[in-house]
């Protein structure tokens, strides 16, 4: 089993993430897409670590990606909840002003 | 150090298995372990009722079988025959999924349960970390169960349950981390193997910080499994019965079973991390099958003792209020756990990893000379 199956899986995850990010108009749904894209990137890092070079840097990078995704989800969802309190909508097109 | 049950069997029998044999052994071992755990979960309901009856000076169930011990089988048959109600406005897909998520999370955590030095399904090198991840699926199941029922009581119960499980994961994880510092590894066999058979070698008496850590872990695991006095997600007096209000029949049985098995798993982890796990004295573990059986007996005795304490606490203490619960977690347990982590690190640095008992012994020997 080579690296190709892993790249296929991660690219499908990436496509799905991009489709979700563009097609959905719900801010939380867009965050779901971002999680998928980040996962695809981390999966690629780990796969290339195993098949292309032997040092463990890819795993460390995948850990950092997971960490950044967690921080991004926390702050992003806090912003979404705040936005919902101000605007009473979570439509991405209603976010047109920097200041309320 | 064996990695899985398969490699242990291969070493003792002197036979190497191909992939089909490996798969078959894993399948049978998982089936055996899951059946034993289902039996323990069922007997847990019986024990709960019998012990509560004992505490309240009642008889408890005493009609089915000798001392009513077959009551849980009768309950199981009753649950199987009950009508499977699904509320009309509920989210059917999630409603059907959530009990399974709860049960899957608990059963997945059994893979690293160190019942004896040979019978551990897979000795992953991240064992305890994997267990934390697997048990966190239960929180998602509880939340989805509450959300999908489309009922106010269930919704409140599910929200409380998820918030409580996420919050109490912090002190529990930090306490486990301090034990990992002492043992120097994440795999279950490393964690248990670093201890001895007698209390002076257990990690609970290794240093003052781990002694406090045991109680922090125990309180946190009580809250993580939604047991009294932290059972506000299913508080009968305010929410009808919490997140499983709308569930009936086998779906309710899945929730109940997963709760009882999770209590057992967390008690077993407490026994393995702090109370010496499966270690037996006098080199008896070298005796092949007899040693394994003795190790199993020791492990299950310690776990059942903690299980008894959990039930005892449930029928002794009153329920906490929800804000008191959060205050206890974030203002008391988390700082104590952080302090424990730092204190353990300092202890390991200053005393070169020696336990309290060893230092005392050294001082005693030095003063004697």
């Amino acid at each position: 089993m080579g690296i190709i199956p892993y790249i296929v899986v991660s690219s499908i995850l990436f496509i799905c993430g991009i489709i979700v990010m563009i097609a959905r108009k719900n801010i939380i749904a867009i965050l779901l897409g971002i999680e998928l894209v980040l996962n695809a990137a981390a999966l690629n890092f780990v796969a290339f670590t195993k098949f292309n070079n032997m040092n463990i840097d890819g795993h460390v990078f995948a850990l950092f990606i997971i960490l950044v995704a967690a921080a991004e989800a926390a702050v992003g969802l806090a912003i979404v909840i705040r936005f919902f309190q101000v605007r009473e909508s979570i439509h991405i097109d209603s976010a047109t002003q920097l200041q309320s | 150090m064996n990695e899985t049950i398969v490699s242990y069997l291969g070493e003792t029998l002197g036979y190497s298995f191909n992939w089909a044999g490996t798969l078959a052994i894993f399948f049978i071992a998982s089936l055996v372990l899951a059946s034993i755990m289902a039996l323990i979960g069922g007997l847990g309901t019986y024990a709960e009722r019998k012990i509560s009856a004992d505490i309240q000076m009642r008889y408890g169930p005493n009609r089915v079988g000798p001392y009513g011990i077959l009551q849980f089988l009768a309950d199981g048959v009753k649950m199987l025959l009950k009508e499977d109600c699904i509320p009309r406005d509920s989210d059917r897909f999630i409603f059907k999924l959530s009990p399974m998520l709860c049960l899957v999370g608990v059963l997945a955590s059994l893979a690293v349960l160190p019942t004896s030095s040979g019978f551990i399904l897979a000795n992953l090198n991240v064992g305890i970390f994997y267990l934390l991840g697997a048990t966190s699926v239960v929180g998602v199941g509880i939340f989805l169960g509450g959300y999908s029922s489309n009922s106010k009581w269930a919704m409140l119960g599910g929200m409380r349950g998820a918030a409580q499980i996420i919050s109490y994961e912090v002190p529990v994880t930090l306490t486990i981390l301090s034990i990992v510092l002492i043992a120097g590894g994440l795999s279950m066999n490393t964690l248990v193997g670093g201890q001895g058979a007698f209390p002076n070698d257990w990690y609970i008496f290794h240093n003052p910080f781990s002694f406090i850590g045991f109680f922090v872990y125990f309180i946190g695991s009580l809250a993580e499994t939604n047991r009294a006095p932290f059972d506000i997600p299913e508080a009968e007096s305010e929410l009808v019965s919490g997140y499983h209000t709308e569930f009936s029949g086998m779906r309710f049985a899945f929730f109940a079973l997963s709760e009882y098995i999770e209590v057992f798993v967390l008690c077993a982890i407490a026994a393995a991390l702090f109370l010496g796990g499966y270690n037996i004295p006098f080199g008896l573990q070298e005796h092949g099958l007899l040693g394994q059986l003795l190790q199993l007996a020791v492990f299950f005795t310690k776990s059942f003792f903690l299980y008894y304490v959990v039930i005892w606490i449930r029928w002794t203490l009153p329920r906490m209020r929800v804000d008191h619960l959060m205050i206890l977690c974030w203002k008391y347990l988390t700082p104590i756990a952080l302090l424990n982590l730092v204190g353990t690190a300092v202890w390991m640095y200053c005393f070169d990893g020696k336990s309290f008992y060893m230092i005392l012994k050294q001082l005693f020997v030095a003063s004697g000379q």
Binding site: C16, G17, I19, I22, K25, N39, A42, T49, F51 | F143
Partner: protein, 183 residues
């Protein structure tokens, strides 16, 4: 043992790919979130087949225990999925929250373009490098040593990032009314 890995890989890949496709095309937001949970568990299984146990366990702890529950909470606090048709401030009917055919076509076209570019790039790199399955073991000690030697700066900065995220999220998501009375 190779066959064993193959079985785990197939199951995990199906879970990951099926979950991701369902996230992209689900009608209901909370269902999409549950499918995302499956997809993440599948990716954790893929990490296991790649010999990265620590990353897999971290994936389970962080995503399943944290991020998915957080997303579910946010969905519930923002009114669930019952806001399908919305009008903008000017009274015009805007695109439905879960997207319509037009947005999906846009998304798929963009994704195909990106994939075409990626294929062109990756084709060269994969065929150029000799793809050999190397024997190595990823232990927790190795990752820990890497984290405090080679990647010490990133490690420390990430701790500051997490602290900032914690404080920032707590301040941003404060209840609206209490902040109004303070100002």
């Amino acid at each position: 043992m190779n066959m064993f890995l193959m079985i785990i890989f197939t199951l995990s890949a199906f879970l990951a790919v099926g979950g991701a496709l369902s996230v992209a095309f689900a009608k209901n937001l909370i269902h999409a979130c549950v499918y995302l949970l499956f997809s993440l568990i599948g990716v954790a299984g893929l990490y296991l087949t790649l010999g990265a146990e620590f990353v897999a366990a971290t994936q389970l702890v962080v995503y399943v225990g944290g991020v998915v529950v957080l997303l579910l909470f946010a969905i519930m606090l923002t009114g669930g999925s019952n806001l399908h048709h919305v009008t903008s401030r000017f009274g015009l009917e805007s695109t439905p929250l879960m997207g319509n055919l037009r947005t999906y076509i846009m998304g798929i076209v963009t994704a195909l373009l990106l994939i075409a570019v990626l294929c062109n790039v990756l084709q060269g790199s994969i065929s150029a490098s000799a793809v050999v399955e190397s024997k190595f073991s990823s232990t927790v000690e190795q990752i820990g040593v890497k984290l405090v030697t080679d990647h010490i700066l990133a490690f420390e900065i990430s701790s500051v990032l997490l602290l900032g995220a914690l404080v920032g999220a707590a301040i941003i998501a404060r209840p609206y009314r209490s902040s109004e009375t303070e100002n």
